[in-house]
């Protein structure tokens, strides 16, 4: 029989594809464009959901790789007047930097909150440096770094091999959604491989894994690098979609936001963080146009309540709720329904 996790993955993928096809049919152009941003930030969310949820690496500076992806894409695309190679470069640079930082950290046996703070400091250093490039002397090729103002007029995505043919907004939405679903499937696949199970083992008990002879540092480094690459992919799409990138990508807020999404959605799941990302993003846009409310007041209040009411995060919280409801239902129904369905092999 089909393993349960595979069933879930397939169902989620099918739902994702269905929604992707449906949205441009029912929504106007404007809404499609807004949803594109959600999808792009969703990729960014998955990068942290993976390294934290499956690798146990708590990264406070995931924005560094997101921003590096965005900046690499912007600078390369402006110089090349073409977007396919810059797109790949963005992923490559983000992954390389993640690997270098990961090597520095994991082979130094940094862990826990110390690792978190090193990643945070790393992104803050980039933030400070990039913020101080406002002067006209800071150029890479023909791209001006622009400091606090960022890089405007980043070229939109074009068809690979044909720089004159740009994708229109709906096509960009499809591209972003494709990458989101592909990333999700890739991560699910990794989760099912031997390497994926090893990384979970390391997350659950690092000492035990290393005593069993596994190279814990190498495993963590790989997980971190994959996460960096995915964040870089998100950053490149972000820069292409907004057609600008600015140092805020490296800010404390950008890195903390994604932590919040993953945590609110439930660490260890992929769909939960995605839902939390979409939901909180929509909320902060909606709240912006409500004249009677102070945006920060409302957002902050909601976050506080989410933590208190759904301590494990959205998805596990809802799962708990449904278990509880089912348990209640069972108590009332005749006993023959109680028999638990036979479970498939667990990953």
């Amino acid at each position: 029989m089909v393993p349960r996790f595979l069933l879930g993955t397939l169902a989620t993928t099918a739902a994702g594809i269905a929604i992707t096809i449906l949205i441009p049919m029912v929504a106007d152009a404007f809404e499609v464009m807004q949803y594109t941003l959600y999808v792009v930030l969703g990729i960014y969310t998955l990068s942290l959901a993976y390294i934290w949820g499956l690798g146990g690496i708590l990264c406070f500076g995931q924005g560094a790789f997101f921003g590096l992806g965005g900046y690499t894409f912007a600078i390369a695309a402006i110089n090349m007047n073409e977007t396919t190679v810059p797109f790949l470069m963005a992923i490559f640079i983000a992954a390389t930097v993640a690997a270098a930082l990961g090597y520095f950290m994991f082979y130094g046996r940094l862990s826990d909150v110390y690792l978190g703070v090193v990643t945070l400091v790393f992104t803050l250093i980039i933030w400070k440096l990039i913020n101080s490039t406002a002067g006209p002397e800071y150029m890479i090729g023909t791209a001006r770094l622009g400091g606090f103002n960022g890089i405007p007029s980043v070229p939109p995505l074009n068809v690979p091999g044909d720089p004159s043919r740009m994708f229109d907004p709906v096509e960009v939405f499809y591209i972003a959604a494709f990458f989101l679903i592909a990333t999700y499937l890739l991560l699910k696949f990794i989760q099912a491989t031997r390497f994926g199970r090893l990384s979970v083992a390391v997350k659950e008990n690092e000492v035990r894994a290393s005593l069993l002879g596994y190279d814990v540092r190498m495993i963590k480094l790989l997980v971190f690098t994959i996460g960096g690459a995915i964040a870089g992919l998100g950053g490149a799409l972000y820069a292409a979609y907004q057609s600008f990138i600015d140092p805020n990508a490296f800010s404390l807020e950008m890195s903390a936001k994604v932590l919040i999404w993953v945590m609110a959605g439930g660490v260890g799941t992929f769909v939960g963080p995605l839902l939390a990302c979409f939901g909180l993003q929509a909320l902060s846009i909606w709240i912006s146009t409500v004249p009677w409310a102070n945006s920060l007041l409302v957002l902050g209040g909601i976050l506080c309540f989410v933590v208190l009411l759904l301590p494990k995060g959205l998805l596990p919280g809802l799962a708990d709720l449904s278990t509880w409801l089912m348990a209640r239902a069972r108590r009332r129904t005749p006993p023959e329904v109680i028999l638990p369905a036979p479970e498939g092999k667990r990953a």
Partner: protein
């Protein structure tokens, strides 16, 4: 010569500034493992207390040294009761909760008190060192920083409260078995951490001024200082502040504030790479 002295005073002031902004966090995060993202907002509340009391005609020094810690301490206790107490042992949830709290406090203060309050100025005057004029207030900040460190050592080491607090943080069950009430001790400790932060916010208000969003400027530095310091609260905060403060301030003198900030961050990273448990993970291990 006179320039050297001026630089020295500025370096000491930078160190004292780091001590001030991080000592409260050292208690709340270092001791209690609450990742308090709203730490910067506690500083802001301290500043607002001083500004609002000064407006109401209360002596600035009283507002700064008495009211600010008192008010923020009470706010801290209230927050602990309503929120934080449900989250002990769930370090990451505290991150999420206090992030929300931080936004909420900024929004709340903006709505209630507005974002345009006159700052306070204290008349300490200034003095001359050779060709340079130095603010007397710099010396006051250095003094407060030193007193704060000394007082924290004294409380933790020589008072019953300090002993009980340290014991409870290490093993709450044992403390409970000995007839103490860990929830109450947590509450008081959190309140003290908040009060120290409020004091710092109050003392810094005359030079930074107060706006609801001012907290964000301090939060990263405070966390980096505490974590670089490591497990021992006072020795850690003191040594990390000294190291980071002097490096960044000297670099700032030699170059620009950006390079100074980057130097601070860079040193912190290198330090953690060499000493993964922070400074007091290796040195001053038996200190507080």
């Amino acid at each position: 010569m006179d320039y050297g002295l001026v630089v020295l005073i500025e370096v000491l002031r930078a160190i004292a500034g780091l001590v001030l902004i991080s000592i409260g966090l050292a208690i709340i995060f270092g001791m209690m493992r609450i990742v308090n993202i709203a730490h910067g907002e506690f500083l802001m509340l301290g500043g607002y207390t001083v500004v609002l009391s000064a407006k109401a005609g209360i002596n600035t020094w009283v507002a700064m040294l008495v009211l600010a810690p008192l008010v923020v301490g009470l706010v801290g206790v209230a927050i602990e009761r309503c929120f934080i107490r449900f989250l002990y042992g769930r370090m990451l949830d505290t991150l999420l909760a206090t992030w929300g709290l931080s936004l909420f406090i900024v929004g709340f203060v903006t709505v209630v008190f507005g974002n345009t309050l006159e700052g306070v100025s204290v008349s300490v005057g200034s003095f001359e060192i050779g060709r340079f004029r130095v603010a007397g207030y710099s010396l006051f900040i250095i003094l407060v920083g030193a007193v704060l460190l000394a007082a924290t050592v004294a409380v933790l080491r020589f008072t019953r409260l300090g002993l009980i607090a340290r014991g409870t943080m290490q093993n709450p069950n044992m403390a409970a078995a000995l007839g103490l009430s860990p929830p109450r001790i947590y509450m008081v400790t959190f309140g003290i951490g908040a009060a120290l932060t409020g004091l710092a916010g109050g003392v810094l208000a005359p030079i930074t001024g107060v706006v609801p969003t001012m907290g964000i400027a301090f939060i990263a530095q405070a966390f980096i200082t505490v974590i670089t310091g490591g497990a021992a609260i006072v020795a850690g905060t003191g040594s990390a502040s000294t190291l980071l403060g002097s490096v960044s301030q000297l670099t700032t003198f030699a170059t620009t504030p950006v390079i100074g900030d980057v130097a601070l961050l860079f040193i912190a990273v290198v330090l953690l790479r060499i000493l993964p448990q922070g400074i007091t993970g290796r040195f001053f291990r038996r200190s507080l």
